[in-house]
Point group: C2
Chain length 847, copies 2
């Protein structure tokens, strides 16, 4: 039953090596053994030997081109040197060339000892670069497979029942959505990486003994890395086989996230449309827009501003209703549950992938570095300064973020005041200008700080000298996450919870930095401005960071390079075709890990869930972005980066925890947005406690307090009190305070406390109800899909049956022989029954 | 390196079979093969054959005794028939005796086929009972070990570094706390149960083919099951080897819980003592006790009661301070974190046990029943009625609980009113009587309902026909938990959150069932009464349920049995010594699972964490109870029940989830107790918002509203208005309402809303801060202890090294022979290197 092919690699990949350019196929010079991994190094005399030197007429020109490319790639090489220890060592031991060669030879000997096969190639098209090609023979792969406890297929169990039929039908219906991948490709043998070479890779690279190390690209997925397939499922199985489980999981996760965004986007649009449809039935905004109400408001700034009529805020009030209506509350709850469902769905998908990829028995990533670095053991006291530095720097950087946000606020206040002072008096134009420039400044600051923070996080993590690469990565991710998150969300949090709240009241305003009054919100709350800010941040970040940085800059670089080398496209193509695969890949940029991709998505997830109460269109924007993002990342990984070493992973690691944390925080943030930022609670309280007829009529009047203009502090009363054409004795402002004629004028009124209690009660109820529902959903959906657990169970039974049969056969044989001592002798290889699936592949069966 | 003993069982257990009674040792008649399991059945002619019939003079007498015991044990047998299907089958197939014998023979043949060995024993001391003794030979054990992926020790790795030395020192210091167990006992071989017999056990039992099935007791742990060792650690390793992992985990968990209760109890006592020490400095109670304040309170009931002076509530106010002081808030936070720490500590302990017991690779409990019962597949529509019944019954039962609690309330109200009406006028005595009887009624109802609910939960779960035994158990536990929890906590929740809140106000009281006014609290809040209720429930439940039910009743039964059989103790002892082990064990009660033990502890955990804010002594009470509980359970398991089949388990299953859920709920419940039940928030608000001098002086006056006695509803004013000796115009009551002379008399005042907002704000802040701290603690403490993960890592490296060496040796050999084809032939058994630890035990090595 166990059908092991002797050279399955050939079967797998032969179909892509076209006979026209056989020398380009990734094989050794014998055309038989496959190149599994490549190490490159600097040769002392690059011009000494040249194979095929007569291929191009202009020899010097190609050499020139390669030299420039080579410099570029060496510069890019600097990035993987993340480890501070190694970096330090790097400077100490700048080996002499002979020393390097000696080390290389020693290393090569060690490699040969482990059973790998090597081929040196110094006569390449790229002068100055020597290639060491590594081939892993089948028995080495088998041994490593046993180490890593890879699973082998034994028997196919298929029970085409009703469920299966339904699934087949669904598959048929959704066929156009699936990528065209041949399902009959042999999927039994895994492409392995060699842990031992990984282990020493960056040590050797850092010493300058080798200049780079990579496996080779061999397939391009025309069915995946193209924008025209945005509506199709991704061929996750192939991605995983090509890039390894880690990258496969990233794309699977991104796929699940994008898929889950579809219902969220639809509901979001419906909520938004509901707001649009009901804007004309909204009594508060009708009252504001009704000129008969004729409410005189207190001035918005000292001296320069004058009294204004509430009816001028009509537009803002109507726009606010789009985002501040009862449907938003429903949408918040929906999105909180959506986040939980998303996590659950991903857990199940991950489980399914684990099953399909045979990772169910695979443990945690082995941390082999530990044994190497454990020699330099650091005690707690050694580490303390680094940790202190980290905490202090992090706090400082977050304070810097706050300071910058505060700076933008000051900018807004001062510019506004200055514009008011000037003769130019078109209020709405002033506002638009100030808001626009402030948002753009915010955005630019965020994008710049993002890059700065990434560098700082890297530096801080290096200071801590983590024990393992995994720990390094986790710490780096955590720090970067905190900094970037603070950076992205500080302005939004300010808008949502602080703006317009620290204003004071007429006659007793709060002043900052001399005589600047704090900003107020427009009449209908700050929700509208929060919404604009979110919109700009999301769109801006996505447009600039993704499209400009990820597409634009590489294109620009390519253009510049081409212009420099004076090659036309035809010549370049010709050159391209003349190169071996391992030479071509040498030009590509190195793979720097998945962290930036994940980080981008996590921040987006934060935008989608945290402030969804104020911006129901966020999921739609995210969806549109992600559809592009998947293909963009695919293109980048396949075309523009060296093929990463296939890394095994069972889950997405720390990112899952961050997502989970975010979806928890989202519940409380949304509760606060609904109860404190929006006018939802005051409206409810008015309707059920204070309204005389149980309707919303009179709500606007109820939210406005009275102010006697004679109570203005000296020098703050308006310069043009007659601006409206009549004398104003009493003006109104938005707050719940006692009127001037009460026994305690301008104190917070009973209404204030009633509304506050209602807001807080809403937070308590909302948070606990949503948390309960989330936990319930979490509990309701099993982590392992039913069909998978059934399948696993069936396989177990099958294994037990096989095993029992073997046992019985043996006992019978033993009884016949009456020889109890031959129990230790194993059954011969010919009649050996198949090994059960969950046992590791025995090396005895392999060779 | 692998030292496998041929008959390790003998080595293990021989030391306890004393040579004086060799026939009592649990061996087959050859004295060599051990009895691993026993099945009993009814013999048709109990008197036909009698071995050793001449042992006692009075033959009839012994027969009589045995018959009575036999009836008892058969009655007890009814309990394991939990499965409804089987129960139904039971009635259908009441086989004829011959039929039964035929089935037995068939079954025995099957057993022999699997390789087990049998010995029949019908000539026993117990007439009418045949014993089928089962022995599992070594090779069968090996095969099953491979199925279950048990691990084998290969090499001992010990690195006595500084940490190890410190640990040794600690071990030495705490030596008297450790039980005296020989550490050199061979711990390498596991005692195995036979899954295939477990599988069919209750089927056969239910058919009446066999009457009972059990493995044998063989060791008694003098170092464990005795109260005199209450201060010692438990010998968990031995417990696990004797009872299996499942029971071992229970006792380990109970040990960890009890251990963790020590710090909680200490802090609780300190908090209580703090309350005692500061009771004289407490300004509010001083003000109440100060006769100069002379505050006249409104009557506590209609007509019969009259006005009273606040100074009479002095005692209650002072007592309340013991439980209602700032230290309680600290203690609540402490206990929330304690619960998280407990969960974390347990997770780590479980991990350590998993490592020590070699369970790290062991998966979920295999659900083998599934394949048997899957034949009777039930669709959703078949199940719907059962589910509906479950939901309806559960809701109904919870409503019954509510009704009973409400009934007790009514009892309290009406008795109080009746007593007030009578001439007997000692108020404090009346109160004490009513409170005492009500609490006792509550307690009795709780204990009775507990038993009823357990039966209902069992019935409902049986209706649902769960697919597997595990699923049956989980559903049963979940239902029982909900019902018992509602039962235990409804009166407490009522006291904490509803009593005294639904009263109405003087002149507008809330009446229930005709003319009964709802209960009020004493002046200083309901915290005191909540505390008394908790105290009674905890102590009463523990005293009655544990000590009476678990110790008293078995003792009583034994006494009755002895009186019936007219045996004096000496005769009985003689009889006892004459019996075989398997005959002795037949008399014992069956093992009914761990659920009741866990359930008891979970409810206790709920008491300790949920309302800890109102009763800081709860951990102390729990601690005292548990110290007894451990030894009580131990005695029961070792002496009074048949030995349970060793069941493997990696964790405590659903109980962990229930604990986790409880500790989550505890946070919000404590937040509400502090902010709504205690006067903590009103005091804070008064001090920082309303107090004129920033102290608590005037607080009592501030909390009392004014009532004009002319506003009493007709017929509700007191019969004796001059009771206090003077005419009362204005009386006071505890509430925040406007005075009679305000524009809106008796409306809720601004103070009410301020206090409410503060209470809710406290809930929000408390809940989120504690949740954040809990998550932080959870994140800070790694789930796997550092030394264990290091050890696992070291073992992995060792394994890789061994494996590499083997590989190298083989390659060298292969190279020497120049024979690539013999790669499939395995190495001979003699020179075979040790298998790495994480690989299953190969059967080839076993025999």
């Amino acid at each position: 039953m166990v059908q092991l092919e002797k050279h399955p690699m050939k079967n797998l990949y032969a179909e892509d090596g076209s006979p026209v350019y056989p020398r380009q196929g990734p094989y050794f010079s014998d055309g038989q053994r496959r190149v599994d991994y490549v190490l490159t190094y600097q040769i002392q005399k690059p011009n000494s030997i040249r194979r095929q030197s007569s291929r191009f007429g202009d020899n010097n020109f190609i050499r020139r081109l390669w030299r420039s490319l080579n410099i570029r790639s060496r510069r890019a090489e600097a990035q993987p040197k993340e480890d501070p220890e190694i970096a330090a060592q790097d400077q100490r031991t700048d080996y002499h060339e002979d020393d390097k060669r000696f080390r290389r030879e020693e290393f090569e000997e060690n490699i040969l000892e482990t059973g790998l096969e090597l081929e040196m190639d110094e006569r390449t098209n790229i002068p100055g670069i020597g290639f060491m090609k590594v081939h892993a023979p089948w028995n080495v792969l088998c041994r490593e497979a046993e180490f890593m406890k890879l699973k082998m297929p034994t028997k196919k169990v298929l029970h085409p029942n009703l469920v299966e039929k339904i699934r087949l039908f669904i598959h048929k219906v959704t066929a156009p959505l699936h990528p065209k991948v041949d399902p009959n490709r042999p999927q039994t043998v895994k492409f392995l990486s060699h842990p031992f070479s990984r282990e020493k890779q960056h040590l050797l690279l850092a010493n300058g003994v080798y200049t780079s190390a990579y496996p080779l690209h061999d397939l391009l997925y025309e069915q995946w890395a193209s924008y025209s397939f945005f509506y199709k499922y991704q061929p996750i199985g192939l991605i995983r086989k090509y890039f390894g489980e880690k990258v496969g999981l990233y794309f699977a996760w991104l796929g699940v996230y994008t898929q889950m965004l579809i219902p969220a986007a639809i509901v979001g649009v419906i909520v938004f449309l509901y707001g649009c449809a009901t804007v004309d039935d909204n009594i508060p905004s009708m009252e504001i827009c009704d000129p008969r109400h004729n409410i005189t408001m207190c001035p918005l700034c000292d001296r320069a501003c004058s009294y204004w009529k509430l009816v001028t805020a009509c537009g803002t009030a109507r726009a606010s209703h789009l985002f501040d209506n009862p449907a938003t509350v429903f949408f918040s709850i929906f999105m909180a549950l959506w986040a939980v469902l998303f996590m659950e769905h991903w857990k199940r998908r991950q489980m399914r992938l684990n099953y399909i990829w045979d990772l169910t028995g695979f443990g945690e990533e082995e941390e082999r570095e530990e044994s190497e670095k454990a020699k330099v053991k650091l005690t707690c006291t050694d580490r303390l300064p680094a940790y202190l530095t980290t905490v202090v720097t992090m706090v400082f950087m977050i304070l810097v973020t706050f300071a910058i946000v505060f700076g933008v606020i000051l900018y807004r206040i001062s510019i506004k005041a200055a514009l008011h002072m000037s003769t130019y008096s078109d209020q709405s134009n002033i506002r638009a200008t100030v808001k626009g420039t402030a948002a753009v400044i915010n955005l630019v600051v965020i994008i710049i700080l993002d890059e700065v923070y990434a560098a700082i996080a890297r530096w801080l993590t290096a200071l801590e000298v983590p024990k393992t690469d995994k720990s390094f990565e986790d710490r780096l991710i955590f720090k970067t996450f905190i900094l970037k998150f603070a950076n992205a969300f500080t302005p939004i949090v300010y808008l949502a919870f602080f703006r317009g709240r620290l204003v004071g009241r007429p006659g007793n305003y709060l002043y900052v930095v001399g005589s600047y009054r704090m900003e107020e919100c427009a009449h209908a709350g700050c929700l509208m401005e929060l919404c604009i800010q979110l919109c700009i941040t999301m769109l801006g970040k996505q447009l600039i960071q993704n499209n400009l940085f990820e597409i634009g800059i590489p294109k620009l670089k390519k253009l510049l390079r081409r212009r420099k080398s004076d090659l036309d496209s035809k010549q370049e193509e010709e050159l391209n075709r003349s190169l071996y695969r391992h030479e071509k890949d040498h030009i590509l940029g190195p793979f720097v890990g998945l962290s930036p991709e994940y980080m981008e998505m996590i921040i987006q997830f934060g935008m989608v869930t945290l402030f969804v109460a104020s911006f129901p269109l966020a999921p739609l924007f995210a969806l549109l972005n992600n559809i592009i993002e998947i293909r963009l990342d695919a293109k980048k990984f396949v075309m523009e980066l060296r093929r990463p070493i296939a890394a095994k992973a069972k889950d997405i690691g720390i990112w899952y925890n961050l997502l989970r944390g975010l979806s928890k925080v989202a519940v409380i943030v949304n509760a606060f947005v609904i109860s404190f930022t929006s006018d939802f609670i005051p409206r409810l309280v008015y309707q059920y406690m204070f309204s005389v007829d149980g309707t919303m009529h009179g709500f606007v009047d109820h939210t406005l307090s009275y102010f006697n203009v004679s109570d203005f502090q000296p020098g703050t009363d308006p310069l043009q009190p007659m601006h409206l054409g009549y004398r104003v004795d009493i003006c109104r402002y938005k707050d719940y305070r006692e009127p001037p004629w009460a026994s305690t004028p301008y104190e917070l009124s009973k209404e204030f406390w009633v509304v506050l209690a209602a807001r807080l009660a809403f937070v308590v109820v909302f948070q606990n109800v949503v948390m309960l529902m989330s936990d319930f959903v979490d509990w309701l959906i099993p982590d392992i899909p039913k069909d998978i657990s059934l399948q696993i169970h069936k396989e177990k039974i099958l294994m037990v049956e096989l095993f029992m049969k073997e046992e019985q056969g043996k006992r019978l044989a033993a009884r016949e022989n009456h020889n109890q001592d031959n129990c230790n002798s194993p059954s011969s290889a010919n009649q050996s029954p198949p090994r059960p699936r969950s046992r590791p592949v025995s090396h005895a069966n392999c060779c």
